[in-house]
């Protein structure tokens, strides 16, 4: 029994056990769930530290039709997957523990952990998949578990809506991905990651780039890239740990991971790469701009997640697999940290999420404040925190490939520092605006703060010595393709951001007024997220709605009324007319009788 299977299936078993047996007892459920993921974490650690090559377990033949279709269920164990395993199980464990405190007393406590375990299972599945169908399977499973967790408080209107939105938006991405997979298969006859690279060469360039783009669609959906980014902010309706785990650290990163995993399909195609890069860049910038005008503590983080994902995708687009994974890892650390911090703040403020109702909290919740600050700096990419290294790699990559993208990236970095500064200052400094809430505010319990500290450490140290990239590339040193000074030069960007935000918000009663004034119309646009939601709502309502109604009308009127009804109508009318012969008058009867005879004779004899 290969230990990998344990990593993968422990959470599934946990989920099953909880739903079937221990639903009633909250403690048990929680313990089982946490135990499952911790086991995973431990085993992953073993693999990680283990010297020498890893052995992938023998795959099972999951779906076999003759020699035509062979779909395996296997596990790839290589540096990439192990790194990702580490992230998922590590950050996951932290968040599981955190949830013990955060979800305390919620009626759906057990259900929460069941779903969490289900999610962990599916996420690990994605990480381990060794073929396209398998990854698609877990892809979908991740989608559904996020659907369940977003809609965790299903009686909340907005929550239920958000879950649905997330699921459907992902579905649209998956539509493309499925087609891409099919196209790839018809050209190579296999789904397996192991066999594919050899066969890629045979595919004509045009087809290949189509495949690349289609598969990228999947990532667009899952990693909430423009134009399918709309679901992620709404997903914040879910409990904060969920936002941290799924919508910051792991699931949304799955898109990026998948792209790295199947890089052999994308890298050869120039067109695909360019498209990916641009999508990434656009997302990064757009999300950052939106973030500056949000008031919900979690939504700000959500948009920043978007823009960071944009970075990663851009990196992939620039053929920088390693930087992408690097940033993914560090981002997982500090973004999870930030969310958990935000969660702790919300917890302290009794589920108040509007930053303008907070303020001056640093005295009340010191640990949260410190860790949150660390997260912020890391995110902004301040030396020597992890964010600095990973972001640098991406920006410098852009610098040497595509100046425009570099500019966008740099500006995004500036905005990042700016809006994170804004959030920090408004939440933790200044005068408390809601005194009642402020007085009752309190530091969170240990189960919640401990993970904060753990993640804080990681966010600080995650980038040191470029350890992650080295691990990925199997030890051999990356050729130092950039001089150090460029990296440090880039430090000016976040600095500027912080300064600006400090100037505006670091005061007793900060407000957006000056910025509003400065930006004018632009402000309303960013405040309303460029009206994407409205646009899509319109499309759904009017385009799809109209078509659907047309179909329905066609069904009811054309097919049923005219088609069937017409047929039935004609029949009965014909019947009625025929029956008019039945006058009841003997003379007419005799006439028909005689006529009938003569007609028959006419046709047989005369003709």
């Amino acid at each position: 029994m290969n230990p990998v299977w344990i990593i993968l299936f422990a959470p599934l078993c946990a989920a099953a056990v909880i739903t079937l047996l221990t639903r009633k007892s909250q403690t048990f459920s929680a313990l089982i769930s946490c135990a499952a993921i911790l086991t995973g974490f431990v085993i992953t650690m073993q693999l990680f530290l283990q010297k020498g090559e890893w052995v992938s377990p023998a795959p099972l033949q999951w779906l076999v039709v003759g020699d035509l279709v062979k779909i395996e269920f296997g596990a790839t164990i290589d540096r990439l997957s192990i790194l990702m395993l580490l992230v998922v199980t590590g950050v996951g464990s932290a968040i599981h523990i955190y949830s013990l405190g955060y979800m305390k007393g919620d009626p759906g406590f057990s259900r929460f952990f069941a779903c969490l375990s289900l999610f962990t299972f599916s996420m690990l599945g994605i990480v381990l998949s060794n073929n396209f169908i398998q990854i698609f399977i877990f892809w979908e499973l991740v989608g559904v578990s996020s659907y369940l967790l977003i809609g965790f408080w299903f009686e909340k209107h907005s929550a239920a809506e958000a879950g649905k939105k997330a699921f459907l938006t992902n579905r649209i991405g998956d539509f493309g991905m499925m087609l891409g997979v099919l196209l790839l298969w018809t050209n190579t006859g296999t789904f397996s990651f192991a066999e594919l690279p050899a066969k890629i060469a045979a595919i004509p360039a045009g087809t290949l780039s189509v495949i690349g783009v289609l598969i990228f669609c999947g990532a667009v959906g899952k990693s909430a890239q423009f134009p399918l980014h709309v679901w992620l902010p709404d997903a914040m309706e879910g409990p904060t740990p969920v936002s941290a785990l799924i919508h910051a650290a792991t699931m949304v990163a799955a898109g990026v991971y998948m792209l790295c995993r199947v890089s052999f399909v994308i890298l050869p195609s120039e067109t695909a790469l360019t498209l990916i890069a641009w999508i990434g860049g656009i997302t990064a910038l757009m999300a950052a701009t939106i973030a500056i005008a949000q008031n919900d503590i979690k939504r700000i983080l959500a948009y920043s997640t978007l823009s960071q994902l944009g970075y990663m995708v851009m990196a992939v687009g620039l053929a920088g697999i390693t930087p992408a994974m690097f940033h993914l890892t560090t981002h997982a650390f500090f973004k999870a940290l930030l969310f958990l911090g935000a969660g702790s703040v919300i917890h302290a403020m009794h589920h108040e999420q509007d930053i303008w109702k907070m303020g001056g909290l640093w005295k009340k919740t010191p640990i949260t404040f410190i860790t949150f600050l660390i997260g912020t700096l890391a995110l902004a990419g301040v030396y020597p925190l992890s964010g600095f290294y990973s972001k640098d790699q991406i920006l410098l990559l852009a610098l040497e490939h595509n100046k425009v993208l570099f500019a966008m990236g740099a500006f995004t970095a500036f905005l990042t520092a700016y809006y994170m500064g804004r959030e920090c200052f408004v939440v933790f400094f200044g005068k408390p605006r809601d005194n009642h809430a402020y007085d009752h505010a309190h530091e969170s319990p240990l189960v919640m703060t401990l993970p904060l500290v753990f993640l804080a450490v990681l966010s600080i140290a995650g980038g040191w010595g470029e350890y992650v990239p080295n691990f990925l590339t199997g030890g051999e040193e990356l050729e130092a393709h950039h001089e150090a000074w460029k990296g440090f030069a880039l430090l000016l960007v976040p600095a500027a951001g912080f300064l600006l935000s400090a100037k505006i918000y670091l005061k007793a009663n900060p407000s957006d007024a000056p910025v509003k004034a400065a930006l004018g119309r632009a402000w309303t646009w960013v405040e309303n997220k460029y009206y994407f939601d409205e646009l899509y709502a319109w499309i759904i309502k009017y385009v799809q709605g109209t078509i659907a109604t047309l179909c329905e009308l066609f069904d009811r009127w054309v097919l049923q009324k005219f088609g069937i009804g017409g047929l039935a109508g004609t029949t009965s009318v014909a019947g009625k007319t025929l029956r008019l012969l039945q006058t009841g008058n003997i003379q007419s009867y005799a006439f028909m009788f005689g006529l009938g005879v003569t007609v028959i004779i006419y046709y047989v004899v005369v003709k």
Binding site: G584, N585, G594
Partner: protein, 103 residues
């Protein structure tokens, strides 16, 4: 001197009579007269049979006619009985008033 009458002459006569019979049934509304017309039909048939049996020198035709006549008589008896009963009930023998059942 030989007769230039052929079988067809007789068949024509019977045919015309038969046509008359049909016409009568269709035209008249008086049940009794209709019945007379029906008798004409039968007679037309008789004539044809007799003529055939004469010209084919086969006697069966005549025998058949014998049966037909007998049956016709019976039919008339029953038919008239029904008509009488009908008259008792509806005070009419006009068939176009018999349309309580239609369509």
């Amino acid at each position: 001197m030989t007769s230039e009458l052929t079988l067809n002459h007789y068949l024509w006569v019977s045919g015309l009579l038969f046509a008359l019979g049909i016409a009568g049934v269709i035209i008249r509304r008086n049940a009794l007269v209709i019945f007379m017309a029906l008798e004409m039909n039968l007679n037309a048939a008789n004539l044809a049979l007799i003529a055939f049996s004469k010209y084919n020198k086969i006697v069966d035709g005549q025998v058949f006619v014998f049966f037909i006549i007998a049956i016709a008589a019976a039919e008339v008896a029953v038919g008239l009985a029904i008509i009488v009963a009908l008259y008792k009930r509806k005070q009419t023998v006009s068939v176009n008033e018999l349309n309580s059942m239609r369509l």
